[in-house]
């Protein structure tokens, strides 16, 4: 198991157009990630912040993460232990932010077929999500350097490694 290849995780189903302000509400932004995490998705899934477990997976409709550049909207999910977000499309800025903070996103046209509460596994390097019944759903391939970034835990650990090599 790596960050981009995971065994089964429980699915939280979300609608389309989940925006950054729902993931990281503006009024929580000055208080730090712990407070933001308690209010993550409160308007859509009031049970989510308290109920989510490490390794769980979000499955959403199109345009997940549209809106603001605030990367807390991605890092809050890492903070809560979410293993990946699977959706037919993502906000472009959110897509960059997610990989930079070590959150895997899988673009999957058939995400809607996955049910709430079901268990899915995924192998991002094979561009595949596997449902509880064994059926595979194809995903768009993610460039290898972005999967390496998720495996490294995000851009910050990568920069650390790069700088320590330069100074050695």
């Amino acid at each position: 198991m790596t960050a981009v290849k995971r065994p089964a995780g429980r699915v939280w189903k979300l609608p389309g157009d989940v925006d950054t302000d729902q993931l990281a509400p503006g009024e929580t932004m000055k208080h730090g990630i712990d407070v933001t995490a308690r209010h993550c998705l409160q308007a859509l899934r009031p049970d989510f912040a308290a109920g989510v477990r490490a390794g769980d997976v979000l499955v959403a409709g199109p345009n997940f993460g549209i809106g603001s550049s605030r990367e807390q909207a991605a890092s809050v999910l890492v903070h809560l232990g979410v293993a990946a977000v699977i959706a037919p499309s993502f906000g472009g800025l959110y897509f960059r932010n997610a990989f930079n903070v070590g959150l895997l996103l899988l673009t999957c046209a058939r995400a809607a077929e996955i049910a709430d509460g079901e268990s899915v596994s995924f192998d991002a390097r094979a561009a595949r999500v596997r449902r509880a019944d064994g059926r595979a759903l194809p995903c768009e391939p993610v460039p290898g350097f972005l999967l390496d970034r998720v495996d490294a835990g995000g851009l910050l650990p990568q920069l650390k490694r790069r700088l320590s090599k330069e100074t050695r």
């Binding site: 157009d17 925006d19 302000d21 729902q22 509400p25 503006g26 009024e27 932004m29 000055k30 208080h31 308007a43 199109p62 345009n63 549209i66 809106g67 603001s68 550049s69 605030r70 990367e71 991605a74 499309s89 906000g91 472009g92 800025l93 897509f95 960059r96 932010n97 930079n100 903070v101 460039p143 350097f145 995000g154 851009l155 910050l156 920069l159 650390k160 700088l163």
Partner: protein, 430 residues
């Protein structure tokens, strides 16, 4: 800022976006879908996205900023400081700017997307990043500028570089001429209604056609600004004589616009829109894409009319509101709030008598900062119905989960304040 030196030689017809990216990555040509590494000419961030995140991360890395002259810090989100947390965040920004001896700092002078070009930092051909989603505003000047998050900004601070997937271009062509009382904001809301919030698909949008060429600089900025809502990475306008004249008046004389345009026959998708038949547009709660003509709305009473933000409170926006409100007064029970986008715009508007007109009409003037637009500073009361010239009406965006926020142009906001219901400014101006 130095004018870009390297000029790509492109033999096949290319788009403006391709030419800008090719220059930044040092290639003669780039192909959509190709992943390239670009040198950053300017990195802009503010008190919310910048120092409070970058300072500890840079310290943790033991790294230095790659080129301080290419960094601009604007303190605009948590000013004026309303509480202890805001004071702490702003103090971090000020202390860090002093400690780093940052040469370009604009503190409480207005909103970053308006302040940066007003001080001559953007010229056509540049490749820029901003720590804010409305950074595509810089595209109005023919610069490739887009928003990034704090961690990616850290990468830029350390390396001066950023990766990019070369975008396709979506040409948003506007033919004809806008009617009086119809503006760039209406064009954008109409595009959002037609193409949706991810219609830009994180590609490059280029606004073009006679109606775009006819727009003054600040109206072009409104289009580029809300490219973020269209889901585009950048929203470009090919620079021209209008751009040159504006830049010359704002500290960037002699801007070279000649290389920075899409060639005839450049590849891309084209959507054609008609400016002449466009009615003022209003976006209903809770999405900017929930747009329709103001004439299609049921009677909608409002409590608050808000003219603010980088999107909707620049000098041209204030002028538009003043034209509607001149010699008139807002309806009883309606609060008209005006937060000019920058101190310079406020001063210019004061000099022209525009602010006096607004005050006489009953407006309350607020500081030039992000304010209620993002729910950071002052907030809209719970349960209120708001018509706003800002960019976003997501649920809770302005700090109140139960508020109903409608988006419109400054003309529409002013006309609605006047009548107490969402109204068509063309009826007032006629």
């Amino acid at each position: 800022m130095d004018a870009p030196q390297h000029r790509p030689r492109i033999d096949a017809p290319g788009t403006l976006a391709q030419k800008l990216v090719a220059r930044a990555c040092g290639n003669d040509r780039v192909t959509p879908g190709q992943i390239v590494s670009c040198r950053v000419d300017l990195a802009m961030f503010h008190d919310s996205s910048g120092p409070r995140r970058l300072q500890p991360l840079l310290a943790e890395l033991g790294a230095q900023i790659w080129d301080k002259d290419k960094v601009v810090l604007v303190i605009d989100h948590y000013v004026p400081e309303a509480d202890d947390e805001s004071r702490r965040i702003v103090r971090i920004a000020r202390d860090w700017a002093a400690e780093q001896r940052l040469p370009h700092v604009y503190d409480s002078l207005g909103i970053c997307h308006v302040v940066v070009p007003q001080h001559g930092h953007l010229v056509p051909g540049m490749f820029c990043v901003g720590g804010d989603s409305h950074s595509p505003t810089g595209g109005a000047f023919g610069a490739y500028m887009f928003g990034i998050g704090a961690t990616e900004m850290l990468g830029v601070m350390v390396t001066g570089e950023i990766w990019l997937k070369v975008p396709e271009t979506i040409f948003m062509q506007w033919d004809g001429r806008l009617a009086d009382g119809v503006s760039a904001k209406d064009m954008m809301l109409a595009m959002l209604g037609r193409h949706g919030m991810n219609g830009g698909a994180y590609q490059a949008v280029e606004f073009c056609g006679a109606a775009v060429s006819a727009l003054p600089m600040q109206e072009r900025m409104t289009l580029s600004n809300m490219s973020a809502e269209l889901g585009a990475q950048v929203g470009l306008v090919a620079p021209d004589a209008t751009t040159q004249a504006w830049l010359a008046a704002h500290g960037a004389p002699d801007a070279d616009v000649a290389p920075w345009h899409s060639d005839a026959g450049a590849p891309g998708t084209r959507h054609v829109h008609d400016a002449a038949s466009l009615a003022p547009q209003v976006a209903l709660p809770h999405s900017p894409a929930n747009a329709r003509g103001v004439d299609e709305l049921d009677a909608t009473r409002i409590d608050i009319a808000y003219i603010g933000a980088c999107t909707g409170a620049k000098l041209d926006d204030l002028r538009a509101a003043a034209r509607v409100l001149a010699g008139r007064h807002v309806a009883a029970g309606v609060q008209l709030l005006v937060a000019p986008a920058s101190v310079r715009d406020a001063a210019d508007a004061e000099g022209e008598g525009v602010l006096r007109t607004l005050r006489d009409a009953g407006a309350t003037l607020l500081p030039s900062a992000c304010g209620a637009c993002a729910g950071y500073g002052s907030r809209i009361p719970e349960g209120s119905t708001v018509i706003s010239s800002t960019a976003r009406n997501f649920k809770g965006r302005m700090g109140a989960a139960t508020a109903r926020i409608y988006l419109g142009s400054p003309y529409t906001v002013a006309a609605s304040a006047l009548r107490g219901v969402i109204s068509d400014a063309r009826e007032v101006l006629a």
